[in-house]
């Protein structure tokens, strides 16, 4: 495994993913804000949550990229389309499993079963995160395809 290459391209890919998601928010395609969603696990303060969540998100991106790199190593090659293919699988996993589990462990996220007590603050993402806007699945998909493509395209096997 090429540790230097991994150390370089993993954060680049994560930044690209984060930028695509933030851009989607700016273009009013989705309300999904991954750093805020992650950071609000630790604090209700919106500004602090975004900062903590950004750090947490970067670390996640780094850790997840290990799985990509492991796949590239086992295949003996890394290409942009192979990375994008893994990104596709990851985005499907995120949209169908992770967002569904989020309300279970997020201390400040409501679930569809919340109520009548109104206590927690973050709205549940719902199936495919559609509660955050109908275009959300597309944004998540594109972000992960780019993440995977960058890793696959730039990661050097040696």
């Amino acid at each position: 495994m090429n540790w230097n290459s991994w150390l370089l391209w993993s954060p680049v890919a994560t930044l690209a993913l984060t930028s695509v998601m933030a851009g989607s928010q700016g273009l009013h395609l989705t309300r999904m804000n991954l750093p805020y969603m992650l950071g609000s696990i630790f604090t209700p303060n919106r500004e602090r949550a975004k900062l903590i969540g950004f750090v947490f998100h970067m670390m996640n991106g780094w850790i997840f990229s290990l799985a990509y790199v492991a796949a590239f190593q086992s295949w003996g090659r890394a290409t942009w389309w192979a990375g994008a293919a893994i990104g596709l699988v990851q985005s499907i996993f995120v949209l169908t499993v992770v967002v569904d589990l989020l309300p279970s462990f997020h201390p400040r996220m409501a679930s569809e079963q919340t109520g009548p007590t109104v206590t927690r603050q973050l709205e549940p993402p719902g199936f495919l995160a559609l509660n955050y806007g109908y275009q959300t699945p597309i944004s998540v998909l594109v972000a992960h395809l780019i993440y995977g493509a960058i890793l696959g395209g730039f990661y050097s096997m040696r």
């Binding site: 919106r46 109104v118 709205e123």
Partner: protein
């Protein structure tokens, strides 16, 4: 009036719906709601959430699904909610005995939910024979998709019945005798003697495997848990003024319309209940109108319910992100655009009132008053101790800038006519409220930076325009549209929003003119003159709708704010409360001739009007000044942290 009894004809095999709008009562769990008729029939239910397709819609068409439990033969009913709850009890008195039917959507605290395995959605019905012997009959016909589909029902022995629907798996368990008939109808008869009980539970599993709650003791535990939760919530209300019971009932009704998972507040849990029987004034209200929701939050904050305000403001900032800085008139409970409006031709309509519509075209309208309403809701939240973070400050600032750029534009206005835009006085006043509120928030450090010069200049320009062009000297009244001679009940709100003192000559003259031209008799008000109602789609003739519930309460509140004496305000208020149905609920409108409820039901807007009027009257009776509109200084430290959004 509460406690009154009514005779209902015995049901026939071919059932027609005997219930008028006011014959219903609502039960719910803050995610969905059902309407129960005086005849023991649940005729409206949308699962899993308020705006889902209906499962029972006999309210709109007798063949569109129902769930009925009632004695065989003639009976009289008396209904009530268990004190300070949304648990309904219907007592059927027959010649041979009496039967008590208790209807609820079980709820639990979040802590209890962590300990217990509970269904995703449930309606629980408990039947108890209190006296003598009563033969009852019951039937259920689930008709998913607004009555379009028949459910395929299967019997599962001791586990009851199950039916797949597009919304999930329906499970019915009961210890009543039950036979499965064609088209998914289940029915049965039973004879209960004094002291005997029976139970029925309908659950929905939308995604996960179904949880099938046991009956009997478990049902009683669920009832006790639900009663405890609602009574705990109601006990937090801070109100000691006139008609306390009605005010608490209104708060409970409003709470039913809060969608707890997101904090959104819907306008009403029904669609297409007519504003006039037989007319096409039928609209879908199962969405979150920012205006209605903001007013609801203001009412709940006034009663001390800050958590709901916190949740709503949080939802507001989240939901409006996709249209930022523009606000839509309405959103669904998760902040998305509601589905396009369409007509369900298959449904016969409530007492023949067609069309039945789902979705709402008003979603595409421009209503500039919304900015003032939501900023006013935020201000009420701040007054209740909330603080705003930088992102929220930015959102508020952007709304203010939008108002500065657009307040001169015509809009559809609060009543949402479908005939075009005009320069509405009410919208102008709310634009003034928006800028005035933002300037106050800035002055008290809640917004740390704002384009003050722009806000102040536009606030002044709006005031000048209203004072110059919305005042009609020959009519001696403010008017609904600039340079017009049309009246509108919204003009009563000028005092409430602090634009003009209630005691001013102009407001007193406006009130007199409104009473004269919009009075519907018996203290009621129309929202605009009947012969000047704007024509609406599909109804080229005068719509002839009823008196508008909230407008009538606005009049009582105007008197309390200084337009009249405290006693005048109290008397009018108490009189208006008498128009509620037997369990204390209001629809959108009231037929001035009969007092019957008209329009969607129960309607948040009317109950908001009741609560706000009550709060103002209580303060006036206690000799206090009207509810202060000043914004307090920004809180510091941990207290602020608790209520930050």
């Amino acid at each position: 009036m509460p406690g009154a009894s009514f005779s209902i004809a015995a049901p026939q095999n071919v059932r027609s719906n005997p219930n008028a709008i006011g014959d219903y009562a609502a039960i719910g769990d803050c995610r969905s709601a059902a309407l129960v008729g005086r005849d023991g029939s649940i005729d409206w239910l949308c699962w899993p959430r308020f705006d889902s397709p209906s499962l029972f819609a006999a309210l709109l068409d007798p063949s569109a699904g129902h769930w009925r439990i009632a004695p065989v033969g003639p009976f009289q009913t008396v209904r009530r909610y268990i004190e300070n709850t949304n648990v309904l009890q219907t007592r059927f008195d027959t010649g041979s005995g009496s039967l008590l039917l208790t209807d609820l959507m079980p709820v639990a605290s979040e802590e209890e939910k962590r300990r217990l395995m509970l269904p995703e959605r449930e309606i629980l019905r408990l039947v108890e024979c209190e006296r003598g012997e009563v033969e009852l009959e019951w039937s259920i016909e689930p008709r998913p998709g607004y009555g379009v589909r028949s459910a395929t029902v299967r019997r599962l022995g001791q586990l009851g019945f199950r039916a797949e629907s597009p919304e999930g798996l329906l499970s019915l368990r009961t210890d009543l005798p039950a036979e499965l008939r064609e088209h998914g109808r289940i029915e049965g008869r039973a004879r209960l003697s004094a002291g005997a009980s029976a139970y029925a539970s309908l659950t929905l599993a939308a995604r996960d495997p179904a949880v099938l709650p046991p009956l009997g003791e478990w049902s009683h535990t669920a009832l006790e848990r639900t009663v405890r939760w609602w009574q705990g919530w109601a006990s937090a209300a801070r109100y000691e003024g006139p008609c306390r019971e009605m005010v608490i009932r209104s708060a409970l009704a409003l709470k039913l319309m809060v969608y707890a998972p997101s904090g959104a507040v819907i306008a009403a849990p029904t669609t297409s209940l007519p504003e006039r029987i037989g007319a096409p004034l039928n609209w879908d209200y199962r969405f979150c109108w920012l205006r209605d929701a903001s007013l609801t939050v203001r009412a709940l904050v006034g009663l001390g319910y800050v958590d709901e305000a916190h949740a709503f403001v949080n939802w507001l900032l989240h939901a409006t992100r996709l249209t930022y800085p523009e606000l839509r008139v309405l959103y669904d409970v998760h902040g998305n655009k509601p589905p396009d409006e369409r007509v369900l031709h298959r449904l016969a309509g409530h007492q023949g009132s067609v069309p039945v519509r789902i979705g709402n075209l008003a979603a595409d309208q421009r209503q500039l008053d919304v900015y003032g309403e939501v900023i006013d809701a935020v201000i009420h939240f701040v007054r209740a101790g909330g603080t705003l973070d930088r992102e929220t400050e930015g959102v508020l600032r952007a709304w203010g800038e939008y108002v500065c750029r657009n307040w001169e534009q015509p809009d559809e206005g609060i009543w949402e006519p479908r005939t075009g835009r005009a320069h509405h006085t009410h919208s102008r006043v709310l634009c003034w409220v928006a800028l005035d509120g933002l300037l106050q928030l800035h002055e008290k450090d809640h917004i740390r930076w704002a384009p003050l010069a722009m806000f102040e200049k536009n606030r002044e320009l709006i005031r000048q325009e209203i004072e110059g062009r919305a005042w009609n000297p020959s009519l001696e009244s403010y008017v609904a549209e600039l340079d017009s001679d049309r009246l509108d009940a919204t003009l009563l709100l000028l005092a409430w929003y602090g634009f003009e003192p209630a005691r001013s000559d102009r407001m007193r003259a406006t009130y007199r003119r409104i009473r004269q031209q919009l009075g519907a008799g018996d203290g009621l008000l129309y929202r605009y003159p009947r012969n000047q109602e704007p024509e609406r789609e599909g109804d080229p003739v005068s719509p002839g709708e009823g008196a508008f519930g909230i407008c009538s309460f606005w009049a009582a509140e105007y008197l309390a704010l200084g337009g009249g004496t405290a006693e005048e305000a109290r008397q009018l208020f108490e009189w208006l409360c008498g128009y509620a149905n037997d369990v204390g609920l209001f629809a959108e409108e009231i037929d001035p001739g009969t007092g019957a409820a008209l329009g969607n039901f129960p309607q948040a807007f009317t109950h908001v009007g009741l609560i706000n009027a009550a709060l103002s009257i209580a303060r006036r009776l206690e000799g206090e000044a009207p509810i202060p509109r000043q914004v307090p200084h920004r809180q510091e430290g941990s207290e602020a942290e608790k209520t930050r959004v």
